[in-house]
């Protein structure tokens, strides 16, 4: 665990971003552990809010995350048909805590989404819990903390951030 460098983590996060931008969502899903969670809290909540007691935009367990991926790959997920084009910029990557079996990682994101003449911008911070897995990682938790004023200009968060 002590030998893992920030560059190792960056390589992993950049690869994750590429899978998302390439719409290789089933492969992206494989990056998550069986007990993983993926969430986007409402922007008027504290960063450590719980989806059990507060209203989020997204709070998926692993099952619902897999269903989200299945949905997004269908033509009947109308909001993403035809697929939007996205670019995930990941920066400010930092390992801020090393635990016995996982790393706590923070990063900043800027995501552009283009569809049908409109460009939407999402930005904020990611919080990950990453478990080492072979020479890579598995994601136990991914939390997306939007810095935007709710989704007042974007209208929806139908892509993965």
């Amino acid at each position: 665990m002590d030998k893992i460098s920030r560059v190792d983590v960056e390589d992993f996060l950049f690869m994750e971003a590429e899978l998302l931008d390439d719409w290789r969502l089933p492969e992206w899903l494989e990056l998550f552990t069986e007990d993983a969670t993926y969430s986007i809290p409402a922007t008027d909540l504290p960063a450590d809010a719980s989806p059990d007691t507060s209203l989020f935009y997204v709070a998926d367990d692993r099952f619902r995350l897999s269903e989200r991926v299945k949905r997004l790959m269908k033509r009947t997920a109308h909001v993403e048909f035809p697929h939007s084009r996205t670019r995930h910029f990941i920066t400010n990557v930092r390992i801020f805590e090393r635990r016995e079996d996982e790393l706590l990682v923070s990063s900043a994101f800027l995501v552009y989404r283009v569809k049908d003449g409109a460009t939407d911008t999402f930005f904020g911070g990611h919080r990950y819990r990453l478990a080492p897995h072979g020479d890579s990682f598995r994601i136990r938790e991914k939390r997306c903390l939007l810095d935007t004023d709710g989704l007042r200009s974007q209208g929806r968060v139908s892509i993965i951030l």
Binding site: D44, D52, T53, S54, R64, L151, R152, S153
Partner: protein, 423 residues
């Protein structure tokens, strides 16, 4: 073509031929929006907030309502005030925070200090003003002309001569009672608000919020998802009615196969969930008898309160309000409403349920957003393709939940208010 010449032209209605059409001009014309602001938003009762959002003395929140910037605050005596958030001196917004707790509000521009009730308390340089200046009515923050509440839901109205909120709500009250009676201690807004927007005319969300017809195609992936959840759905089909509640208000009341935390069990909730749901149902039966308990527990309600408030009691309860910004852009705020006394289990599943369907990150709302934006784009063709059709179910004695009676109720009231056309 000026607005005046369009009088009577917004709707094309012929009951005998079962025709009900809405001019697409109403979704794109800035002159129509101007008229809506004056005749609807300046005159109807509009949702401000829920009293559970301000539990303690000194709690406050700021909110945009009907194009105004409002300050909603609970005073030291517990009384709630709805104030226009503007300094009586030179106009600056007095409170610049979204929510918080305060003993007083100070306008930072020149330092005037106001109580939680908006009354001027102190101001620098008072020796330069007359002795009675502080007590003059124009020296304190303006209260909204009307502010009344029903079952914890607070409304404001900018027309001082408007009918009472109770009269305005009319038949809606009974449905709010059914929704609120699920709780013994009162309903609460859960922390966390969803704020989003749609690049479409605001009235399209009114139609969409009470549209039972679109679910099967627009929300195909949501229904696929429900089938994939462990153990599947409750053994209940979609079945129910639409009702015109007068004043433009309308409701769908129907059964559906999804789980309801109060109180329709689904296999995904397991045995622990089953015990909890049975306990909740037994409590409802003890309080209200079998018939009303069944209505509260098993029936869903999509309740539309004219002109822009939706209270949907479905797989969770949401309160949603929305305003036009431009003819083709609206801003939406949505919250989750839940019984105060709810167990941690029920709250967790309620919120989990909420996000499955509702909100801009859910499995359904984003497709509604897409549908509404596609309609708005389609309205680029309004010069040639002029009309929307909402005639489904006309002439039926009992309109189904997936007919369009509720939209006709909205548009009839809209036409009465905007163009003075009686049904």
């Amino acid at each position: 073509m000026g607005v005046a010449t369009k009088l009577n032209a917004a709707l094309d209605v012929d009951e005998s031929r079962r025709v009900f059409r809405v001019s697409r001009q109403t979704f794109v014309d800035p002159a129509i929006l101007e008229r809506e602001r004056r005749e609807i938003l300046d005159k109807c009762w509009l949702y401000l907030g829920h009293d559970s959002e301000l539990p303690l003395p000194g709690d406050f929140l700021t909110r945009q309502v009907g194009g105004r910037s409002l300050l909603f605050a609970r005073g030291g005596d517990g009384a709630l005030s709805a104030l226009l958030n503007t300094c009586p001196h030179r106009g600056a917004q007095v409170c610049r925070e979204k929510h918080g707790n305060a003993k007083a509000f100070q306008c930072f521009y020149h330092g005037w200090v106001f109580g939680l009730d908006g009354k001027l308390r102190s101001f620098p340089g008072k020796e330069s003003y007359p002795d009675d200046f502080k007590d003059r009515p124009g020296s304190s923050m303006c209260a909204v002309p009307r502010h009344e509440s029903y079952r914890g839901l607070h409304f404001v109205c900018f027309d001082a001569d408007a009918e009472s909120l109770a009269d305005y709500l009319g038949a809606v009250k009974e449905y709010l009672d059914v929704i609120c009676d699920q709780s013994t201690e009162g309903m609460r807004i859960v922390s966390g608000s969803q704020e989003y927007s749609i690049r479409a005319n605001w009235k399209l969300l009114t139609e969409n919020s009470v549209d039972g017809y679109h679910a099967v195609t627009t929300h195909a992936t949501y229904l696929d998802y429900l089938k994939n959840t462990s153990g599947g759905l409750a053994q209940v089909g979609f079945n129910g009615q639409a009702r015109d509640l007068g004043h433009g208000h309308a409701v769908l009341e129907y059964r559906a196969p999804w789980g309801r935390p109060v109180a329709q069990w689904i296999p995904a909730w397991g045995e622990a969930g089953k015990m909890e749901v049975e306990r909740l149902r037994a409590s409802l039966v003890a309080r209200y008898g079998e018939q009303r308990a069944t209505r509260i527990a098993d029936y869903n309600r999509n309740l539309f309160i004219f002109p822009n408030l939706v209270v949907n009691d479905i797989m969770a309860v949401t309160v949603r309000t929305y305003y036009p910004v431009e003819p083709d852009f609206m801003a939406i705020s949505a919250w989750a409403l839940a019984p105060a006394e709810e167990s941690a289990w029920a709250r967790k599943y309620r919120l989990f349920n909420f996000l499955e369907f509702l909100g801009p990150g859910g499995f359904a709302t984003p497709d509604d957003v897409e549908a509404l934006e596609q309609c708005q784009k389609g309205f680029r063709n309004t010069a040639e393709a002029k009309w929307n059709d909402i005639s489904k179910g006309m002439g039926k004695e009992i309109p189904s939940y997936d007919d369009e009676l509720q939209m006709r109720a909205f548009w009839t009231e809209w036409n009465r208010r905007v163009f003075g056309v009686k049904a």
